[in-house]
């Protein structure tokens, strides 16, 4: 199966010159894998039909009156226009239903539940304890153990969004007042990018997140650490940064567990330093980009709820960035 998958995918990617971090053509999950096989089958079938039509149309136009009267008969119209599609499509429909059943079956095996809430324009992520209560909250990044189906509960805080990690599986909308679910199973380790797929306003384009599939051991270790409070500031600059963070009022919107910052409007920053990106997949994560984001969010992502703190002086800004980067 892997070989079948590998060839066309590799070819397509070579043509497109793509990094397959957000590609449905480089499936890393069971859902995406099954859909990929379906897609390959359908593409082959569609190409054959297309060639058939072109050949027949060409013959129809080029032929002399004498030959091939069969092509000009109403019987041909019924055979190729109605009977052929009916047969092919019935088979395809059956394939689709079987596939859908398989995907449904995976839902029952999920042990871990992650609640994802779409907000304009970022992702609130809560890992749920077995009793259904939130164990801890994070944002814009999801980790999941390889080989174990994970159930996602999808909700929205404002408008309709759509949760989509192409490498892992299909998308499902996040709709105000409803809870949708999707179960994804990562089959191999890796970092996959997801992105909002339902138009949700000005910054729909910059509403991404990272999904990191890890070995169950690594995942377990991360899960245990992520639930804990934030790392205390240690260096002088980190301490100053924490002070500036509090003084600037960041805690009104952001939470850093273990500190006074307990805002719930924006992303939880307790372990922000350990994430791959900031601003919902918009920038790579390091002290430099953190500083840029704090001081210039409105230029990087116009319309985002995060204001530009452009009144901060250089050293203060730098200390805040260093402090945030230290929250691993």
């Amino acid at each position: 199966m892997t070989r079948v998958r590998g060839l066309p995918a590799g070819l397509a990617l070579a043509l497109a010159g793509c990094t397959p971090i957000q590609s449905a053509l480089d499936p890393a999950g069971s859902n995406a894998g099954m859909v990929f096989d379906l897609g390959v089958a359908m593409t082959i079938g569609a190409t054959l039909v297309c060639v058939l039509v072109v050949v027949l149309a060409w013959r129809a136009v080029r032929r002399s009156r004498a030959e091939g009267a069969w092509l000009a008969s109403p019987r041909m119209v019924i055979a190729l226009g109605a009977v052929l599609p009916a047969v092919v499509l019935t088979a395809l429909l059956a394939y689709g239903f079987v596939l859908d059943r398989q995907l449904a079956a995976e839902e029952d095996r999920a042990a871990l539940t992650v609640r994802v809430t779409g907000e304009q324009w970022w992702w609130r992520v809560a890992y749920l304890a077995p009793d259904g209560s939130p164990a801890f909250e994070t944002a814009n990044e999801i980790r999941l153990p390889v080989g174990q189906p994970v159930r996602f509960e999808l909700e929205s805080a404002d408008v309709i969004h759509s949760f989509w990690v192409p490498a892992l599986g299909g998308k499902i909308d996040l709709i105000p007042g409803r809870t949708n679910t999707v179960t994804l199973l990562a089959e191999r380790e890796g970092i996959y990018r997801g992105q909002c797929a339902e138009f949700c306003g000005t910054q729909h384009a910059l509403m991404a997140f990272m999904a990191r599939a890890e070995t169950p051991e690594d995942f377990g270790a991360w899960f245990a650490a992520e639930g804990g409070d934030a790392r205390q500031p240690e260096t002088e600059e980190e301490v100053a940064g924490h002070g500036a963070f509090v003084a600037a009022g960041c805690g009104a919107c952001h939470a850093v567990r273990g500190t006074a910052a307990a805002g719930t409007i924006g992303p939880d920053l307790t372990h922000v330093g350990s994430r791959l990106t900031i601003a919902a997949g918009t920038l790579p994560n390091h002290a430099g980009t953190l500083a840029a984001w704090v001081t210039d969010a409105q230029a990087i992502k116009p319309g985002a709820r995060m204001p530009s703190f452009d009144e901060l002086d250089g050293p203060t800004l730098r200390s805040i960035a260093v402090y945030l980067a230290s929250l691993r």
Binding site: S23, L56, P74, G81, F97, W164, D173, F199
Partner: protein, 841 residues
């Protein structure tokens, strides 16, 4: 065919006959030509306006492609980008595609069918001017930075007041609501025209395929557009008056919008495609000089597509988390629709194979369209499979799919049709050589733009994003698509050059039947269409009988004169086209233009909340419609000969009247709107268990009974009024006027009582989704009662001055049908609002 045969009217025709005919049909000169309502004029205005909007929306697409050509680019701001793609989609769908095919229908149908004009010329004039004025104002919003920006699908809550507090959404809702009215007006016109104004002998089985396509088109508009009217109405009520239909916290549901929108939106695709397919089925036979193979199959396929397309709307909602079993059903329906499309494609291929192919510009467009449409259809089958759709939904794969379908299914056939039919309306044909280059360039551009997009979507790029990071590697594919867009632009530019050089619209000396087609539109010349109206015995009458065209032109066929001095055409029976009566048609007049202008002003002023001026404009619009209704219904006159021993009465009332058919279609529209409101009610009930919510008292049973009695009384009074219509010239219309007047009052009182009853029970429209759903049904009924009060006022006035009597009763009969309908709708509303919750409790 040189055999002498009996023609209905002896040649040569008496002197002065043709001159009188031409005089009746003469178009006004100078600026007054804008008041001409004849289909040839309106049709040309209509097609030209549609082409203009096509070019405008195409320029928006070029800006979109400029922004996406490179990663992380900032050619336009995010906010402007969102306006661009919203307007591109909206303008292409609502201001180009639907009006364009409707326009071709208005322009060509009467001539194809052997009629001198459409049966309600003022209605199509109104539809055109409403579209022209409203559409132009809608475009203007882009230049004022108030253009809609929530996508052409306008999903709430994003399009609701909380997330779009500016007027951009209102502009969309009212603007589109208004275009819908125009489309429905045109559809009623086309349905009645196709069913009742065909030439004698043109049975349904001999009707050109385009007539069938437009009939299905009209029927689909009648059932689909009301759903959109309901959707836009509910959302505007939510935005303007806080009626929470789509707000989850208050019992509403944003998915209600999606159901209503796609119940319109999916048929919309076929509303666009079927007329274009009909055009293809007209052009292919001409290209190869052979009748369409499988005519019956194609007609069956057109009708089946229309029917199936109403069972597909959930197709667009596979990612919304609906139950699997529901999605399985819609998945199957989605596949089913491939069969009628397949039949049409292979019927065209079979026709190509039957005759002798002669290359021409239209042929190039059609062959290209065939391949593009087939590719779009095949990817359509792919996305009908739920798991696959969930992967590619809202990605560039869908962008590719829908453009293949719409370009192959509509745009390329439409461009081909312009090349094909230009000689029928222009002094010169377009350049066939240029046309072939345009077709090749266009086909190349489309494939370079959209073929790579399938891949762009599969490698992860979602739709409606104003930018994308370079690291994702989508740059190359996007650049290729943008290059393709430039090729398309070049081809359209070349097309415009050709139009400018060669398109010379005329009513007299057209270039004529250069492709050697077999249908009647190639005989019709001048604004009156036919010198005389032939009897049609074949699907391609001009091929069957080479002398026919000359006989028609000489006036040897039916009605070579004007019987009344007015414009006239022949009305025939629905199925077998037996001549029934002569319909006199109105001449030029400003009332449709004024009505359209002020209807547009009404909607646009509402957008900016200038309520008082809006109301005044609304009144002027109603007044101008009343002016035109005042002149309608000249009353029946004795039969006159039309030739061949046939005598036809003039302007009859009663069961066979075409106006009755028009009214029945209007009633279908009204009932579809009403059904949409009921759907909203039931849907919100199912979603929100608290129905009615706590704190609302049961409504008074006495009040409900009172409303019901008043409705029955309204119907009874109007029926009674019909029994007391005076004989012409005897007595006055006082008694029937009294009956009609009281009926209107009873209808209004029934609504008032019901609204009072609801308010008394503590129901408020902004209190909950329940209140909103109940009130929108009750106020819809009240609005209908009010409209009928105005109509009744007109009828009373007509009766009092003797313009209605026992014989001249067509407008009375129309009013009676509508009042009976309104009473019935009111009774159903009472049952649903008051009885259902009691039964459920």
């Amino acid at each position: 065919m040189t055999a002498v045969r009996d023609l209905p009217n002896a040649l040569p025709r008496p002197p002065g006959e043709e001159e009188a005919l031409r005089r009746a049909w003469a178009a006004p000169k100078g600026i007054k030509v804008l008041s001409e309502i004849n289909n040839s004029y309106i049709g040309l205005y209509y097609v030209s306006t549609a082409v203009f909007f096509f070019i405008f929306a195409g320029i928006l697409a070029l800006l979109i492609r400029a922004q996406l050509a490179l990663p992380d680019s900032d050619v336009v701001s995010p906010d402007l980008y969102n306006q661009l793609f919203t307007m591109h989609g909206t303008v292409m769908m609502f201001l180009f595609a639907v009006p364009a095919v409707e326009a071709v229908g208005v322009l060509l149908l009467p001539n194809m069918l052997g009629a001198r004009d459409l049966p309600f010329p003022r209605l199509s004039a109104y539809a055109f001017w409403a579209y022209f004025i409203g559409g132009t104002a809608f475009l203007g919003s882009l230049f004022l930075d108030v253009a809609p920006r929530a996508g052409w699908f306008m999903y709430p809550p994003l399009s609701g007041m909380e997330f779009t507090p500016d007027i951009s959404a209102d502009l969309w809702l009212l603007g589109i609501g208004f275009i819908e009215i125009s489309a429905i007006a045109g559809a009623i016109e086309i349905i009645v025209g196709v069913l009742r104004t065909r030439a004698p002998g043109m049975t349904l089985g001999r009707m050109p395929v385009f007539g069938w396509a437009m009939l299905v088109f009209g029927a689909m508009i009648v059932f689909a557009f009301p759903s959109m009217i309901v959707a836009t109405l509910l959302l505007e009520l939510e935005r303007a008056f806080d009626w929470p239909f789509f707000i989850a916290e208050r019992g509403g549901d944003s998915l209600l919008w999606q159901h209503l929108f796609w119940f319109f939106g999916h048929p919309e695709v076929y509303i666009i495609f079927l007329p274009a397919a009909g055009m293809v089925s007209m052009m292919v036979p001409t290209i190869v000089r052979h009748g369409l193979v499988g005519y019956r199959l194609v007609v069956l396929a057109l009708s089946a597509t229309g029917l199936i397309s109403f069972g597909l709307w959930v197709h667009h909602m596979f990612a919304t988390g609906l139950p699997r079993i529901a999605m399985a059903f819609f998945s199957a329906a989605g596949m089913l629709v491939a069969i009628p499309s397949g039949i049409q494609v292979f019927a065209w291929i079979a026709t190509f194979a039957s005759g002798r192919f002669r290359p021409s510009a239209p042929a190039f467009f059609l062959l290209g369209a065939l391949l593009v449409f087939v590719i779009g259809g095949l990817t359509g089958v792919m996305v009908a499979i739920v798991p696959f759709d969930q992967q590619v939904h809202d990605t560039f794969f869908i962008v590719a799919h829908l453009h293949y379908v719409l370009i192959g299914g509509m745009v390329m056939p439409f461009l081909g049709a312009i090349y094909y039919w230009t000689p029928a309306v222009s002094r010169k044909a377009l350049s066939d050589r240029t046309g072939r280059i345009v077709a090749i360039l266009f086909f190349t551009g489309v494939n370079v733009t959209f073929l790579p997009m399938h891949l762009t979507g599969l490698v992860g790029m979602p739709r409606r994003v104003y930018t994308y990071p370079e690291a994702l590697g989508w740059g190359g594919l996007n650049l290729l698509s943008s290059l393709g867009a430039v090729i398309i632009a070049a081809s359209v530019l070349l097309f415009l050059v050709d139009l400018t050089r060669n398109f010379r619209p005329t009513m007299r000396k057209t270039a004529g039947n250069v492709y050697g087609a077999g249908t009647l539109e190639w005989v019709a010349t001048g604004i009156n269409g036919f010198r005389s109206i032939p009897r049609v015995e074949r699907r391609e009458p001009l091929w069957a009988d080479e002398t026919l065209a000359n006989e028609i032109e000489a006036g040897a066929w039916y009605l070579p004169n004007t019987a009344t001095g007015h414009r006239e055409t022949i009305v025939t029976s629905t199925v077998d086209a037996r001549p029934q009566y002569i319909l006199t048609l109105p001449g030029p007049g400003w009332s449709p233009v004024v009505a359209a202008l002020f209807t547009a002003a009404f909607f646009l002023l509402l957008t900016v909340k200038a309520t008082t001026i809006a109301a005044i404009c609304g009144l002027i619009a109603v007044a101008s419609i009343l002016v035109w209704m005042w002149g309608a219904d000249r009353g029946p006159r004795p039969a006159v000969p039309i030739g061949g021993g046939i005598n036809l009465p003039i302007d009859i009332a009663g069961r066979h009247s075409h106006a009755r058919l028009g009214t029945l279609v209007l009633m279908l529209v009204l009932s579809a709107i009403f059904a949409g409101l009921l759907f909203a009610y039931v849907y919100l009930w199912i979603t929100d268990a608290a129905w009615p919510p706590a704190g609302i008292a049961p409504t008074s049973a006495g009040g409900v009974a009172g409303s019901a009695l008043l409705l029955v009384a309204a119907a009874g009074l109007f029926l009674a009024a019909g029994r007391f219509l005076p004989r012409p010239g005897t007595g006055t219309g006082v008694l029937p006027s009294l009956g009609m007047g009281l009926s209107a009052i009873a209808l209004l009182a029934a609504s008032a009582l019901d609204i009072w009853n609801l308010a008394d029970a503590g129901v408020t429209p902004s209190g909950s989704a329940y209140g909103a759903a109940v009130f929108v049904i009750a106020s819809g009924q009240a609005l209908l009662a009010l409209a009928l009060a105005v109509v009744t006022g007109l009828l009373v006035a007509k009766a009092l001055v003797g313009r209605i009597n026992a014989e001249r009763r067509l407008s009375f009969e129309v009013g009676r049908l509508l009042v009976l309908y309104a009473a019935g709708q009111g009774l159903v509303a009472l049952v649903v609002i008051h009885l259902f919750p009691r039964i459920a409790a």
